[in-house]
Amino acid sequence: MRRLSTPRVFACLPRSLFALLVSFAASFSSAPAHAVESDHRHEILAKSKLNSRQKAAHVYDRLAFGGRPGEVEKLASGGDHAIVEFIESQLKPEAVSDDSTDARLAAFATLKLSSEQLFAQYPSVKDVAMKMGIDSATLDANEDQKKELRKKIGEEHLPEWIVDELRAQKLIRAIESRRQLNEVLADFWFNHFNVDHHKNDLRYLTTVYERETIRPHMFGKFIDLLRATAHSPAMLVYLDNAQSQSALNYLPAKVLPNGRTVSREPVPRKNGLNENYAREILELHTLGVDSGYSQKDVTELARILTGWTVADGRTNPRFFFNEKVHDRGEKVFLGRKFSAGRNQEEGDEALQMIAQSPKTARHLAALLARTFVSDQPPAALVDRLSERFRQTDGDLTAVYRELFYSPEFWAKESYRSKIKTPFGLVVSAVRSLGGEVDVRSKLPKLLETIGEDLYGCQPPTGYIDLAEQWVNSGAMVSRLNLALQISANSVEGVYTLLPTLHPAPSEVRATVSAAAARLLHEPISAETRSVIEHELSDRPVLISNDEVRPLSLAKVVGMILGSPEFQRH
């Protein structure tokens, strides 16, 4: 006879869930443990109408991808003081030790390699075949032979592996890293300066792009980030600037037999100007659409950036200024004259000029506020962030700090007002269950079905972080299925630990409360609770006198992860 007693139920719970059950009741009434310091940051937090648990949940929702088991509870128990400390530490990621994440990623061969090494070590199947003396024609016509060769080379040595590892590292860092804000920002800034690994040879460039172009500049000056992207092979290839050439060929002066030189008229060139990159710099990366620049400005910036290209694109890609295709004529860009005969430095000047424009400050302020506060951020907040950006000459950390210590950030209206991106949804789900993923996880594939192909967003706009982008009936089906699959541990390469429960009817309510508190950090809505309780009280059926059909907690957790509450952050 296995009649279930209360202690036995709790013995089945993982320790953190048990601890939570105990702390759950306390957390809503406990006062902050530390004395409140009276600086500006504490004042803002003190004025917030959110309770301590909500504050902790909110900061984990926005500066992180949700909490891992126990983290929100722990932060809540430290009160405002602990929250300020958390924000400050997240703003200085290099001071947060993250050895375990580093250790996990140490085994990823591609992450530290240069593009040159990636090209050399991950050649395409065709190139491998050629070295083996199989001509590529034979290979292309014979699918079976190709498959066999791919097998022989091994999954971990194919070029696709570079992208597999890149995606896996993004997931692993977001799920496990203690430098959570760093990961939130890596996602934000990569998306802002989007490139897509599908294009041309970008799969060899994207790892380096994120590692060397995006990540090192996320807490510094915006101009450095902008400049880094403008010098990156990935961006120059993705938005075609690598191919852009002066429409006119400025021929070198002719040297006559008598030693005199005669200058020559420029002649038209067949492959001319490509405006794609110039347009997107203005429209997406800096000033923002409809901010008053003209088509002429786009063309002039494209002319200024002619010659910004990539050397050795298929072996050792790196930035290269090709003077020969640079348009040396005079330009007038946004009202400023760029005199004839200049070279690369006029591009630097133009980038500096747009980075310092108040329109850029405003555009970035609005985007950051939209990402961290709400889909329609209050105008006053955008004004202040924009002002801060200008005062500090585009110091991003100063802007983040302004944002995280703003009344708008801590307003009740901001709490759980954002819809999680598909990436945010899966990462927060795995985090909340204390789970892990490995390099072969199927999450990237599943994310594609909800509309977020990691490193594979085709348009340069990147993903647009607004509710309507993510919430539609097709994506909802995938979101719900994903919740069920993650909680049931049926996604390959994703590991979560959920116990089997045997709650007696009298314990159903406590179990639901405990699970919901751990995953949502909020008492769940009455509607969601009643459906789940019904599920629970329905299931533990006495099959015979000495046998109870066990209830899988996975189903309950799956329902919470699929609930409307969990879609928000």
Binding site: A137, K199, R279, G474, V477, T528, V531, H534, M559
Partner: protein, 430 residues
Amino acid sequence: MSPQLLRREFLKSMTSALGLIMLDSVTGARIALASASSVYGATVASASNSSHANNGILVYIFARGALDGLSVLVPSGDAFDLNSRPNIGLKTTGPSPLLSIDSHFGLHPAMEALMPLWRDDLLAFVPQSGSPDSTRSHFDAQDFMESGAPGKKNIADGFLARALEAAPAPNDATTNSVRALALQSTLPRSLRGKFAAVSMNSIQDFKLKAEDRSFEQMYQGAADRLFRGVGHEAFETIATVQRASSDAKAAQASGLYPKSPIAQHLRDIAALIKARIGVQVAVTDMAGFDTHVRQGSDKGQLADRLRELSQAIAAFRNDLGNHFGDVTVVVSTEFGRTVRENGTGGTDHGHGSVILVTGGRVRGGIRGTWKDLKPGNLFEDRDVPVVTDYRLVMAEILSSTLKLEDSRKMKAIFPEFNFQPADFVGVLRS
């Protein structure tokens, strides 16, 4: 002489000088310029006033990888073409000759399954068509084609999504209607946008992996209004789509469809159309057309792909029966391939290709304008030119199928594309 006749005479002298053929044939015969009504708009003006009682259904198949239009509709009358393709050129004689459809053109022998549609005058080709943008990057060309804005990179949504947004809802549309869907794992670029479209790998896949209705109850009662709404829609959509599930299974069991992925996708689309759930646009795609090496001729890689595609379309038509009357199937690709074969028995990235259109409302024949493949007529001295902009073909089909006759609406669908309904090539009957 009337101004219009004058214009015709002028064009006639111009076009013969340039080696142009205006194509207009119901029977498949090449018809002289004077009767080229598709160019002058006589038939088309009425097509744009289409009075079909039922709403039409567009099935848009994207052939990814750049389909070699010259292997689909082979201009056997152009000596240049034969000479430039010694190993892969398709011939009018031999064991598997071109299918004879016209004095100037033959159809690839692997596409024989489409011949009943041709004989019924329900199969049209628009040769030398495509996107005017000159890029030879698959990535950019597919992106431009599906965004509906060649050369413009900053358009985040797709042309079919914008068309659906602009289109009036059909009279019989209900809140349960699934008006736009894709049979592929992710929503294609062409359907991305504000209009609610769903994508699925198969009907079989598009349901919740839970045995009970707990999620449904949870979302029905949700206090969160956004999610109550979208949850409601999602469950309705699942239920609606699943109405087609037994039909799809039956069609599969009947052996009507081959096993290829494109056939499976068309089978599911047919089931969804037959279930009358309000489908107006269905999108799917097919890969394997990037034939740089050993393209083959009457047999080989490309022949295999074309056979798969043709057999799938033929099965789709037979499966749909009377429903085919409302359907227009379009097969289109990002760009064509070089006129000359390359050193490895294949073709490289080119420019113009062919658009295939079939369906109950289609006016069978070869439409548009053909430029003889002679030096001087080639794009950048090497490729099939784009004589007919793909947007013109899609605009004609969308006008009628989605009842978007108001050409002002078309401006939002294809930004910066200027055309008159009189320019339509006439792939649809009036």
